[in-house]
Amino acid sequence: MPALGADMEAGTLVEWLVKPGVRVRLGDIIAVVETQKGAIEVEVFQEGVVSNILVPEGERVPVGTVLANIENAPGAASPVLSQNEIAAAPKPTQDALAEPPRPSLSVAPQVPRTKITPAARRRAAALYIDLATVKGTGVEGSIRLADVEAATSAPCATPSVKRGVDLTEMRRAIAAAMSRSKREIPHYYLTETVDLHAASTWTERFNADKAPAQRILPAVLFLKAAALALREWPQFNGVYTGGVFVPAPEVHIGWAIALRGGGLIAPAIRDTDRKSLTELMTAMRDLVERARRGILRSSELTSPTITVTNVGDRGAETVKGVIYPPQVAIIGFGRVVSRPWVVEDRIEGRPLVTVSLAADHRVTDGHIGGLYLEAIARYLQEPEKL
């Protein structure tokens, strides 16, 4: 049972998405776990064949409990083997290595195959629809797009799986994490007002000839600037654990997403510093949509190395965040406001944003914090380079 948050102690195994004998690859989603942050899809981080499942569906177990065993099966075997076949499989020997065993055709049972069109299969994967529950109306009884779409509007295809977010539970999780943060982390706060004239002009020009779906929001520029500045000041990117700061080799910024009806979650946008603005926009849209539907993946909750919160158009002018432990910093972007600003001895109306940093004083001091904010401000002056 993976720890999907700083204060998660136990989780309920809601659904297994693999069976014994199935070969799994890095990143495959193998199970759904119910946590305070909703149903989270658990990704696998080891390749091999699932040999046996130890925790049945519906059981609540502590973090760290072994859920299933995965064995590294010999490479040449057929992709799906029954448990008996695995047991009977010869152990690799010199001879076996010289000539890998050939899959036998005679043992494969003739199971009538459900026909699914490529488009339907892809849509079902995106919508997390279990195709076993869908009835096909296409050519030769195939499941097609219309069938998948009909299944999404059906009441609940798999009643055993509870998807979505329990806001009371989430409130408890936020309370625990934030209390721990304020109890353990000596925060210091810095703010810097940044002129967004260049960034706004550039964004307008970039968006001018784009369809609405292709346009980018200023938030993406904030995110990228914060990520690039972390390359210069890696002291803010990582976790504080066991009394020491452990810097993270990659920049996975957790993006704070407010949920409708209350609640907050900050899943990671992986490799934030290496993604283009368009890629970040796509990633952000995807993440927001899935976060609101309560279907995030385990790695998205466990991998953030720092958090960025952006209050948007309807937020306050300044936001000073509370660090999400064991991270060591949170960057806040307030509402963009139009205010007088001195430009070369003249007063001009300019779009401004207040950028804040809340950081862990056990790891860094205010001087470095100021330099980090200064770097973010600098990146925002050259939006074309982001």
Partner: protein, 335 residues
């Protein structure tokens, strides 16, 4: 003898007239252009496309040739090498096989074998297709074979607009170009918009937008496909009709974009099914748009027999609107 007709106010014209006006414009515009073929001069062409042009332009520029496709296509290759712009007519695609050696081994190959020293800007027009009750030596659709050959451009004008203006694009291309005119289109009438004076010859065109199934076709099958689309529309099925226009190089992008929109596809091709241009198109969709598909690919093709003489048998061998409707309907609303 009729006076040569001018491209004046009368914008309604037959496909035949559009072909003729295209040739006439080419002869007027460039003194290097000349026409050559069997019975194209005094007789006016077996489909009367060149009628009156010999009187207007003289025997030096509209030349009747002996009945030897190999000889007059070969002469066209030589003339193109020598710097002229020959437009050769072959009566039907079946007869072009006599000149296949000249087309493949000379017209296409000489620019390559000479290291680019010779361009062969040769244009060959030929009639293609069935429906005229002229049996198995005059009725086949072999343009798909020619589309197999790298170095050739293969045009299949189906609309009045393309019949009128594709020739200009072909003349601008330094490579040998084949233009296939479907025999059942010559008498078709249509409007030619007065604000058009050129067409591109590189792209397929979506001639009817639809959401439920893509009907991909060209040449003589285009209007059968339109009829099928109209009938499908009455049943509530909106078909998108794509006119390929150019079989080589094939505009894969337009095909894939249409299939990505509708997710279902029927290819209509009068040619024989096995190894046909429809097979090539289907394979490209399978290779490049597999994940867009929401139904198996389907084809409506010519029956794989020599074309029968009897009218009811000939009709049964060719794609017909009712077949297209039935196949498309089965993809959208399986029974």
């Amino acid at each position: 003898m009729n006076a040569p007709q001018e491209a004046v106010a009368s914008l309604r014209m037959t496909y035949r007239e559009a072909c003729k006006q295209a040739l006439r414009q080419a002869l007027l515009a460039d003194s290097r252009v000349f026409l050559m073929g069997e019975d194209i001069g005094r007789y006016g062409g077996c489909y009367a496309v060149t009628k009156g042009l010999m009187e207007e332009f003289g025997e030096a520029r509209v030349r009747d040739t002996p009945l030897s496709e190999s000889a007059f296509v070969g002469a066209g290759v030589g003339a193109a090498m020598a710097g002229t712009r020959p437009i050769v007519e072959i009566m039907t695609v079946n007869f072009s096989l006599l000149a296949l050696d000249q087309i493949l081994n000379n017209a296409v190959t000489i620019p390559y074998m000479s290291g680019g020293q010779f361009a062969i800007p040769l244009i060959i027009r030929m009639a293609t297709g069935g429906g005229r009750r002229v049996a198995a030596q005059h009725s086949h659709s072999l343009e798909g074979w020619y589309a197999h050959i790298p170095g050739l451009r293969v045009l299949t004008p189906a609309t009045i607009e393309d019949a009128r203006f594709m020739l200009i694009g072909a003349l601008a291309d330094p490579n040998p170009t084949l233009i296939f005119e479907h025999v059942m289109l010559y008498n078709m009438e249509g409007e030619l918009s007065s604000d058009i004076n050129a067409v591109d010859i590189d792209h397929a065109k979506v001639l009817r937008a639809g959401t439920d199934v893509s009907l991909i076709t060209y040449g003589g099958s285009l209007f059968k496909t339109f009829e099928a689309a109209a009938r499908l529309s009455k049943e509530g099925i909106e078909a998108e009709v794509v006119d390929l226009r150019t079989l080589r190089p094939l505009d894969t992008k337009t095909i894939l974009a249409s299939v990505a929109r509708t997710r279902r596809c029927v290819i209509i091709d009068e040619g024989w099914r096995s190894g046909s241009i429809s097979a090539e198109i289907g394979m490209r969709i399978a290779e490049q748009a597999f994940f867009e598909l929401d139904a198996p690919l389907r084809r409506v093709c010519g029956r794989e027999v020599p074309m029968p003489y009897a009218p009811h048998l000939e009709d049964a061998c060719l794609p017909q609107p009712e077949t297209i409707v039935a196949v498309a309907r089965e993809l959208v609303r399986p029974t």
